[in-house]
Symmetry: C2
Subunit: 523 residues, 2 copies
């Protein structure tokens, strides 16, 4: 708990009590988190605070969901299935959020689809991969929790009406593909992670779209079928608390700019996505010294859901953690992977065939990247389609000079790489033999692969527990408030692979809806 290192052992709720003694005219910060009036008999002046008028509610539901993407859809469906009256507020005219525009993967292990396709996997190996790939700043318990729930989550996806083709591709696949059902979508086969967890294709690709649209379409249909009230072009603005500090509603702004006060009898679910489209929040939290160009986030990812929580003293987790991808690699990247990726100093950055979010992170850390190819590899690259090299030269040294990389360094980098490639080994990074081809035939080519080519999305958000309850600065759940998806962060660390975000989006979106629907209604 954030307070544990303080003299102060009091929790947020202690303050709600304590603050009453201060009366309504002046109050401590913690009391602000509830605006607590004095209790009966609390003193002459306190009586006033008790005679509070009610806010004028324009609408009322058991559960109010803020943001209608993958997490909001999962929350709405689960709350409605539990019998709750649900209202969803969505900024856009149709909903979908970043889920509807993503690569179509949900990363799962130990599923019926894997079994049908003869893939050996288990929730244990899946959980080990996730915890390792998230790195030292991730939350292994949360990843284990998600991995353990993966088989049931797959079944839920089918129940909701999502479909997955019974086809498997074990090649490197960086994004969804219509007709493909299961593929590798992370860094499972990279030397470092294969040593920790048995690799398996875990990227479950939704059909027929082969993009995230296939996740949202059935979620939206199921929400409508269950009678969820969907308010489009309406955005959540602020949370409303009662005098005990419980979240009891939200204020929203509708298409006409009119403010709506919406009461939530049982709970509010914040599922409004990340903050990739909020430049001020990015400037405050982005950690690399470069600017990736392409957010893989919906335009609606403006951080409002995170701000709504921050306003009432919610804590955050990992706001500086992002998914960063090299756009040059990816679905059709396999021939490019035979090139050698070097940084500004002429040394390699990573095994070129690692999952491209790991590649992207390495490029951002190095501030720049170049892919070096020889004539043979370049012919293969061009066979995939036209591509303009940054420079061409008769020798590696001349190529290095042309792109501003130290020639003797690049020459030694390629020499060591070629020596290994000739024997099918990459001692430096463990790149797989299928992509190891010596760069031997002049002329040589350099392709630019700098940070401007990166895409990104945010992983940080409001700190939640395994019950999707939003935690305050003292580590206590804020009554009546739940969150899921990129509006929250319980697990990242590094981004672990395509479909990992949908894993946590569905897992905690569902739990948020379930817990909110099951909460005791406000008086």
């Amino acid at each position: 708990m954030a307070y544990s290192k303080h003299e102060d052992g009091l929790s947020r709720r202690d303050f709600l009590r304590g603050s009453a003694l201060l009366g309504a005219g002046l109050t401590t910060a913690a009391a602000l988190a509830a605006c607590a009036p004095a209790p009966a008999g609390g003193g002459a002046g306190d009586g006033g605070a008790q005679s509070a008028v009610d806010i004028t509610w324009d609408k009322e539901a058991d559960v109010v969901v803020v943001g209608f993407g993958g997490a909001g859809g999962a929350a709405a469906v689960e709350a409605a299935k539990a019998g709750a009256k649900v209202i969803v507020l969505e900024l856009t005219a149709e909903g979908g959020g970043s889920t509807a525009i993503n690569g179509g993967f949900v990363m799962l292990g130990g599923t019926a689809l894997q079994e049908e396709l003869g893939v050996e996997d288990s929730t244990e190996e899946f959980g080990k991969y996730l915890a390792a790939a998230a790195g030292g700043t991730g939350n292994p318990d949360a990843w284990k929790f998600m991995a353990d729930g993966a088989p049931a989550l797959y079944d839920w996806c089918l129940e909701v009406g999502m479909t997955f083709d019974k086809t498997l591709d074990e090649g490197k696949v960086g994004g969804g593909r219509p007709g493909l059902g299961l593929a590798y979508s992370g860094n499972e086969r990279a030397r470092e992670y294969a040593a920790i967890a048995k690799p398996a294709p875990r990227g479950h690709i939704v059909s027929p779209e082969g993009t995230g649209a296939g996740f949202f379409r059935p979620l939206k249909a199921k929400s409508e079928e269950l009678g969820v009230e969907l308010l489009y072009e309406t955005t959540g603005q602020h949370l409303v608390l009662d005098d005990t500090g419980r979240v009891v509603g939200v204020t929203a702004s509708d298409a006409s700019g009119k403010t709506l006060n919406i009461k939530a009898l049982r709970g509010v679910c914040l599922t409004a996505g990340g903050f990739g489209m909020n430049p001020e929040m990015m400037a405050a939290h982005f950690v690399y010294d470069v600017t990736p160009a392409y957010p893989t986030a919906a335009a609606s990812e403006n951080g409002i859901g995170i701000q709504m929580g921050l306003e009432i003293g919610a804590d955050t987790f990992g706001m500086s953690r992002h998914a960063l991808g090299s756009a040059l690699y990816g679905p059709q990247g396999s021939e490019l992977l035979k090139g050698v990726l070097v940084g500004p100093n002429g040394r390699r950055l990573i095994a070129e065939d690692e999952y491209y979010a790991f590649v992207g992170r390495a490029i951002c850390a190095a501030k720049n990247g170049f892919i070096i190819a020889d004539e043979t590899i370049n012919a293969a690259i061009l066979s995939m389609g036209p591509k303009e090299p940054l420079a061409t030269a008769a020798s590696i040294e001349e190529l290095a000079a042309a792109i501003g990389v130290p020639p003797t360094v690049l020459a030694s980098t390629i020499a060591v790489y070629n020596e290994g490639a000739a024997t099918g080994e990459d001692p430096e990074f463990g790149k797989h033999a299928e992509f190891l081809v010596p760069l031997a035939t002049a002329p040589f080519y350099a392709y630019y692969n700098g940070p401007e080519g990166m895409y990104y999305h945010t992983c940080g958000g409001l700190k939640i527990n395994l019950d999707a309850q939003v935690l305050d600065l003292a580590g206590d759940p804020i009554p009546g408030l739940y969150a899921g998806g990129r509006n929250s962060n319980i697990a990242y660390g590094y981004y672990v692979g395509s479909g990992s975000s949908m894993l946590d989006v569905f897992t905690f979106g569902r739990i948020a809806g379930q817990r909110a629907a099951a909460a005791t209604p406000v008086a």
Copy 2:
């Protein structure tokens, strides 16, 4: 402004107005930031909220300063000099914070001391270095502001009673040294930064201690001389706001655990340091996949000052940005600098003679580091004192195998390094000739230089403007609240050099005290 991407154009203050319409019993999050009661005539139930009792104040001052280190001392001195009655709350029995235990540098440019010692420098070149070294996530305007104020800040240091010896050492110096007045304390001479700004020694070392104790001793004496009331073993707990949302005091806990309510007529200055000693905050915000072992922060850096601001909806900046140093380098590191620092893959990480916070960052990013030496360099290293190598071997390849680094890679790294060193050049990173010695004489040695050897301190904190006003989530100043030092962050980015923290600690600590003392008192 954080809200600028929202439908919602309202500021925090707008809500203080708007919220009144909601009455006191239920309130929006933004209203919580003020706990605003209804205005007269606001409705039947509102009258009560207006009849608020006052908090019982135990003490009162114009300015209340939370935390008595460098920033708190600067704030207290400036506020008292302006004629304000000042109360300082300090967790420890003597004060000092991280300032009193630091390396004794304040980084300044264009000062009288530089001129007296014949050093050519200007605020322009200083500002260019600071902005470049802070990197793409830093705030160049804030660094320029601090650089422009540096000559006057040096004069203020003398006024307060700090002294600086009139001696210059242009060698690499990683920490203060009694008797030394001016030295290089950052990365000014590294290839990348020397190309941007003219290098100059800017680390002004306080005497006679040659450590930060020399900063705090006179600040404490001056505070006492000016009649500042110093409450030791008393820690700030929460901010107190009035019904307009202005900060009007703090609650504190004294040595006996008794709560004190202290009224601040003009303002509160949060100067309680960073959060390096708060494991939960570190886990939420630290960004590297390793754990540095040694906080260069006082035990009192528990994050309470940052939490006090967060509780009332203050924004933060760069919470993920830290100073990271390699403890293996530093004051007596010069012979070690002749070694070659490589990562787990056998490639160099950085020019070994760069400022050790830059070296430390490179090691943390690579997750591990080893210093490779030959017999000649090792003899020089041992001449500095006993040191246990991790491994010794007759060849580079055998040494590599012994430490788990790919032998062919390390061999090529050393070969390229030696080739350059023989001609006094380091094409890869631009290490200076004085440290470039070929590794040619067997046996060879490897010294461990991994993250466990790192020290760190936090750079992130409450977001402030150039007037040291704490900003809320909408980007508006929170009335009555100021912050400085590591309790705040306006400029980092990367850590830029020893003494840069004291530059911003003194600059914004002073401004916080000045602005608070000049504020209109509460009714």
